[in-house]
């Protein structure tokens, strides 16, 4: 498969194409698409499942033999989702927390990754190793201590408590550091000779070059706000700070304790739509690539 991929990469530049080469080309293209489409179907399946579940009735959803296509399509789930949960509020809260924490987190991540990738200082490798080591302990163990900490800070029931504790992610610092290290060092040396300041270099050269990775981080961080559940429930249970997942779980729990998942899925689909559109927009930047952004090595 790898060989065929390269074939395609060069395809457009082959000046003369003989008929046998043409046949190979078509075969390769076919395999390539077959592979991608197969993987796409596998990957899209849960998304499809979310959509069909959102229009099923609760009793159809609970069937032990699930239906692949709903027997009857209930758009009433969407109406109910809209009416029951305070979707607007939940959405705005989540958007606010998502945007602020993404923004702050990007700044911190970029600065740290730059220090690790380009600057030289004593104890750098030791510090980096320590950072990596913190990833190796299951984070669930931190909850009780962090709860005591934010309580001591008086941060209970605020947006601060939802944003600040998770601003730093070693996971992303590491990712961006790797990406920065992909950028040839000669660029930095040249900038130094020109007398460009580190910050300017970072802003003008590194960030544009690492844009695809930064956007990946943005997407992951935003989705983090969308999916977080345990921590927000623990520290900010007041209506005015409630985030989407907590709000949805609470809104669609039946009196017997069963969650009305079809309605919940409908609500998720509603609030995911704007997010999805933003991602489609950002995708362009991920795919744009370096050569087209006009920076020469």
């Amino acid at each position: 498969m790898s060989e065929s991929t390269m074939k395609v990469m060069q395809e457009k530049d082959l000046r003369k194409v003989t008929s046998s080469q043409k046949a190979v080309k078509i075969a390769v293209q076919f395999m390539l698409y077959a592979f991608l489409i197969l993987m796409a179907i596998i990957i899209i399946f849960p998304f499809y499942w979310m959509l069909i579940s959102s229009v099923k009735s609760l009793s159809e959803y609970r069937l032990s033999v699930p239906t692949l296509f709903p027997r009857e399509i209930l758009f009433s789930n969407y109406v109910e989702a809209f009416n029951q949960a305070n979707l607007g509020r939940l959405f705005l809260n989540t958007l606010y927390v998502g945007l602020v924490s993404t923004l702050l987190s990007l700044v911190i991540t970029v600065l740290s990754a730059f220090a690790f990738a380009r600057l030289e200082f004593k104890g750098k490798n030791t510090l980096f190793a320590l950072l990596l080591a913190t990833m190796m302990i299951p984070g669930e163990l931190f909850t009780i201590t962090n709860y005591a900490t934010v309580n001591a800070f008086g941060w209970m029931d605020s947006f601060t408590v939802l944003i600040v504790p998770f601003l730093v992610s070693v996971f992303y610092i590491y990712l961006l550091r790797q990406n920065f290290m992909q950028i040839p060092n000669e660029l930095y040396l040249a900038a130094k000779v020109d007398g460009t300041s580190d910050l300017k270099y970072l802003w003008k050269v590194m960030i544009p070059l690492a844009l695809p990775t930064l956007i990946s981080i943005t997407i992951l961080k935003m989705m983090g706000a969308w999916n977080s559940y345990v921590w927000p429930r623990l520290v900010a249970n007041k209506e005015e700070y409630r985030l989407i997942t907590n709000g949805l779980r609470n809104a669609f729990t039946e009196s017997t304790g069963d969650v009305n998942i079809p309605v919940q899925m409908a609500a998720v689909a509603i609030v995911s739509l704007p997010l999805f559109l933003v991602f489609i927009f950002l995708r362009k930047y991920i795919m744009k690539g370096v050569s087209r952004s006009g920076i020469k090595g």
Binding site: E120, V164, S272, V290
Partner: protein, 313 residues
């Protein structure tokens, strides 16, 4: 790398991250270590005024657990199987996506969809695909109501249905399902990262290769992979770290019992053990976490050592 004229400058860049990490990560870790060495520590009883002795009792209890070895084997096995498979698949998909013209936008969009899919939906799909509903499966007078979508496909192609996850299923059938599920779960993230990494490779390298008339295989092995190697190293190393912490995916398929009906805890992992203990045996959970830390640490060192040799920066 260049020696900066102001070595303190680096620390300013790092200051925000370090301060936050000290408060919200390092401090909890210190607490974890403390709890690990207080014998029989439970945060509830501690509030109630119970005192604890300092010692290695928690570690001893963890190691004495009758299923400790099975937790460890499951963890390692899943890690060793899923990380390479998901990395290679993600690399292939990313490279292919980068190489096609028609349908490119549509396919890319599809590979983005997992990010807006609710996590509950992901768990449900798998249960539906592998679950077999019926009774007394495996005995002579079995009654099978549905064999699940995967088995329907297998039967369509003339195979016999496999009991994947239900009562009486084999260990390797369970592991196969877990590997497929974990790989599937990990793919979107890895594709995203590698796609981003691919886009950071300067097209001039390819142009140069073209001028030289380099073969495709050589372009892939000599340009794409080396230039992508920092990202590949990242994906593999973080994959291993995450893989050793595997837990929620198993609960997603097998429920809290972490095993097929009739054989609970068969697929229990280290973090599964930690979770159980975390309910009221925080000392024991912390000790297990430190043991796990030791294992991950050694593996990561090996990974770093290998990747340092192979990574091209």
């Amino acid at each position: 790398m260049v020696e900066s004229k102001h070595p303190w400058k680096a620390w300013i860049y790092l200051a925000p991250a370090i301060v936050l990490l000290l408060i919200f990560t390092v401090w909890p870790i210190i607490n974890t270590v403390r709890m690990a060495f207080l014998e029989g520590y439970s945060s509830m009883s501690a509030v109630g005024g119970m005192q604890y002795n300092f010692g290695f009792g928690n570690f001893k209890q963890v190691l004495q657990y009758k299923d400790f070895l099975s937790c460890l084997t499951n963890t390692m096995l899943l890690c060793v199987l899923t990380v390479p498979i998901s990395t290679i698949l993600a690399l292939l998909i990313a490279v292919c996506l980068n190489a096609i013209r028609p349908l490119q936008r549509l396919l890319q969009t599809i590979f983005f969809l997992p990010y807006v899919t609710n996590s509950i939906a992901i768990g449900m799909v798998f249960a539906a695909m592998f679950n077999m509903v019926g009774s007394a499966f495996g005995s002579e007078n079995e009654i099978v109501i549905t064999a699940g979508i995967i088995n329907n496909v297998i039967e369509f192609f003339g195979g016999t249905a496999v009991n994947w996850i239900n009562a009486g299923s084999t260990y390797w059938a369970n592991i196969t399902v877990m590997v497929v599920y974990i790989v599937w779960n990990a793919l979107p993230f890895k594709i995203l990262i590698l796609l981003g990494g691919l886009q950071s490779i300067n097209k001039q390298y390819y142009d140069a290769a073209k001028v030289d008339g380099t073969s495709r295989r050589r372009v892939f092995t000599k340009i794409t992979v080396p230039l992508l190697s920092p990202m590949l190293a990242y994906v593999v190393i973080t994959g291993f770290i995450g893989g050793f912490k595997e837990y929620s995916s198993i609960v997603g398929i097998f429920g809290d019992d972490m095993g097929p009906t009739g054989d609970p805890r068969r697929l229990n992992t280290m973090v599964g053990f930690i979770y159980d203990a975390l309910a009221n045996k925080q000392g024991r959970a912390s000790a297990a976490a430190l043991i796990l830390f030791g294992i991950i640490f050694v593996v990561t060192m090996i990974n770093l050592y290998v990747s340092k040799k192979k990574t091209h920066y």
